[in-house]
C-alpha cells in the first residue's frame, strides 16, 4: 500500500516536472515572436507575429496527427503520463520551426511559409528526431545530443538556410556595389524581451530533457543542467559585449542578444556533464563565434535579419562538436558524423520542399509588396498604426 502510493507519487512528480518543462518550452514561442518582431522593420511586424503564432499552432496539430508517430513509433513511457511525454516532445518541433521564421523574415509569402511548416513538422523534423531520440541509427552510433543543439537548433537553421538561398536577400540589403546596407530592427525592447523569454524558457528546454526527476541522480543532473545553461548564456553575453566593444567601440545590443542565445544553443547538446567553468568557456566561445558568423554570412550576402542561421546553425554545430570535452560517452568523429547527417537530411529535403513551393506557389512577395511591407500585403493590419515612420517614407 505504502509502496504503491510512493510509486504513484513518483509517477506524479515526474509527470509534473515534464509538464512544467514543456510549458516553459511553449513559452519560448513567445520569445521567438518578440525577438523577431523587434528585429524586423515595423512594416513587417504584424506579419511576423502572425507567422509565429500560426506556426506554433500548426506544429502542434501536425505533430499530434503525424509527426509524433513518425518520431516515436513506440513510445513506451510507464514512468510518467504518456500525454506529458507527447506534450514535451511537441513543443520542441515548434521551436525548430520558429527558427526558420526569423531567417526568412520581411520577404517570404505567408502561406508558403505555413505550408513548409506542415512538412517540417510532419516529416523533416520527426525523421531525424527518430534517428537519435527515437532510438534510431544515430543513437546506435553513439551520437550525443542531450537537448537538441543539432536535433532542434541545427535542424531549424538548416531549413532556414535552404530557404534563404532560394529566397535571396531583402531588397536594399546589399547595394549594387556589393556593400552591405543595414536595415535596423524597429523595436529593441521587444528584442530584449524575446531574449529574456527564451533564456527563461530554456530552463525547461534543457532542464526537462533529463526526462525524469525522481532520483537523486536525476535531480542533480537537472540542477547541473540549469546552472550550466545559465552560465553558458551569461558567458556568451559577456563575450559578445567585449567583442563588439573591441570591433566597433559600441555595445551592439542586437549582437549581445544573439550572444546570449548562442550560449544557450551551444550548451544544449550536453548541459549535464560539463563543470560550470567549462560551460562558461563553451558559452564564451559561442558568443565569439556568433558575431563572426553573422559578419561572415553577411559578407556572403546571405541575408538573415535576426541571425538565426548563425545562432542556431553555426553555434548548434559547435555545441554538438564540443560534447566530448566533458562527456566520455561521446566521440568527436561520431558527433561530426551526426551533425553531418542531420544537416544533409534537413538541408536537402528542405531545399526540395522550398523549391517545389517556389515553383507552384512562389515563395517571395513582389518587389512592390516588399516595399509596402508584408503587414499590408498579408495581414491588412498595421503593427503601430498611430506612429509616424521616419524611415522608408
Amino acid at each position: 500500500m505504502e509502496a504503491q502510493n510512493l510509486q504513484q507519487l513518483t509517477f506524479a512528480v515526474d509527470t509534473f516536472y515534464l509538464l512544467i518543462s514543456g510549458a516553459l518550452v511553449m513559452w519560448m514561442a513567445a520569445g521567438f515572436s518578440m525577438l523577431e518582431a523587434g528585429l524586423v522593420r515595423s512594416k513587417n511586424t504584424t506579419e511576423i507575429l502572425t507567422k509565429n503564432i500560426v506556426l506554433y499552432a500548426i506544429a502542434c496539430i501536425v505533430y499530434l496527427v503525424i509527426g509524433y508517430k513518425v518520431m516515436y513509433p513506440d513510445p513506451s513511457t510507464s514512468a510518467y503520463a504518456a500525454d506529458a511525454n507527447f506534450f514535451f516532445q511537441m513543443v520542441f518541433v515548434a521551436t525548430a520551426m520558429s527558427i526558420v521564421s526569423g531567417a526568412v523574415a520581411e520577404r517570404m509569402k505567408l502561406m508558403s511559409f505555413l505550408l513548409f511548416c506542415v512538412v517540417l513538422s510532419a516529416v523533416i523534423y520527426p525523421v531525424q528526431g527518430l534517428w537519435t531520440w527515437g532510438g534510431g541509427m544515430l543513437t546506435e552510433w553513439g551520437f550525443v545530443d542531450f537537448a537538441g543543439s543539432s536535433i532542434v537548433h541545427l535542424t531549424g537553421a538548416s531549413a532556414a538556410l535552404a530557404a534563404v538561398l532560394l529566397l535571396g536577400p531583402r531588397s536594399g540589403k546589399y547595394l549594387s556595389d556589393g556593400s552591405i546596407n543595414a536595415l535596423p530592427g524597429s523595436n529593441m525592447p521587444l528584442a530584449a524581451l524575446g531574449t529574456f523569454i527564451l533564456w527563461f524558457g530554456w530552463f525547461g528546454f534543457n532542464g526537462g530533457s533529463q526526462l525524469a526527476l525522481s532520483t537523486v541522480d536525476d535531480a542533480n543532473a537537472i540542477a547541473r543542467a540549469m546552472v550550466n545553461t545559465n552560465t553558458s548564456a551569461a558567458a556568451g553575453t559577456i563575450a559578445t559585449l567585449l567583442l563588439t566593444k573591441l570591433l566597433w567601440k559600441k555595445a551592439d545590443l542586437t549582437m549581445i542578444l544573439n550572444g546570449a542565445l548562442a550560449g544557450l544553443v551551444a550548451i544544449t547538446a550536453q548541459p549535464v556533464t560539463p563543470e560550470p567553468w567549462l560551460a562558461a568557456v563553451i558559452g564564451f566561445i559561442a558568443g565569439l563565434i556568433v558575431v563572426l558568423s553573422i559578419i561572415g554570412l553577411d559578407k556572403l550576402h546571405i541575408d538573415d535579419p535576426v541571425g538565426a542561421i548563425s545562432v542556431h546553425g553555426v553555434v548548434g554545430i559547435f555545441g554538438t562538436l564540443v560534447v566530448p570535452l566533458s562527456d566520455d560517452g561521446a566521440s568527436f568523429v561520431i558527433q561530426l558524423a551526426g551533425v553531418g547527417t542531420i544537416f544533409c537530411w534537413v538541408f536537402f529535403s528542405s531545399l526540395i520542399v522550398w523549391a517545389i513551393l517556389k515553383l507552384v506557389l512562389g515563395i517571395r512577395v513582389t518587389k512592390e509588396q516588399e516595399y509596402i511591407g508584408l503587414d499590408q500585403v498579408d495581414c491588412g493590419v498595421e503593427a503601430y498604426p498611430e506612429f509616424t515612420s521616419k524611415k522608408d517614407g
Binding site: 521616419k390 522608408d392 517614407g393
Partner: protein, 112 residues
C-alpha cells in the same frame, strides 16, 4: 530666389535628392506629410470593419534656389519623381525674398 515645394511619393526621395545634388543644390529640407488629391485612398479592413484611408503618405521637399536654377531644378525633380502613376505629386514655386545663414550671417545666394 525661389522656394520650391515638391510633394512626392516617399520612395522617390532618395532619387530626387541625388538628382538635385548632381545639379549643384547644396541643401534641402524634408517633411513627412499626408496628402489627398486625385490619387484615391483605399479601404482597409480591421476585424471585419472597413475603414477609409484618404490621406496618403507623401514627402514634402522644400528647396530654396537662386532664380537661374529654378528651371533646371524643376526638370530634375520631375524626372526623378516620375513614375507615371496618379499621385506622383506636384511642385509649387513660391517667391523667396531673403535668406540668411545663421552660422555666418551670410545672406541670399551665398546663404543657400
Amino acid at each position: 530666389m525661389k522656394m520650391l515645394v515638391a510633394l512626392i511619393k516617399p520612395f522617390k526621395l532618395e532619387d530626387v535628392k541625388q538628382a538635385l545634388f548632381e545639379i549643384g543644390c547644396k541643401g534641402l529640407t524634408v517633411t513627412e506629410v499626408r496628402g489627398v488629391g486625385r490619387q484615391k485612398g483605399h479601404t482597409e479592413l480591421y476585424r471585419g470593419a472597413e475603414y477609409q484611408v484618404d490621406f496618403l503618405p507623401k514627402m514634402k521637399i522644400e528647396l530654396a534656389v537662386p532664380d537661374e536654377t529654378v528651371e533646371r531644378a524643376l526638370e530634375v525633380v520631375i524626372a526623378a519623381a516620375h513614375t507615371g502613376n496618379i499621385g506622383d505629386g506636384k511642385i509649387f514655386v513660391m517667391p523667396l525674398e531673403q535668406c540668411v545663414r545663421i552660422r555666418t550671417g551670410e545672406t541670399d545666394q551665398d546663404a543657400l
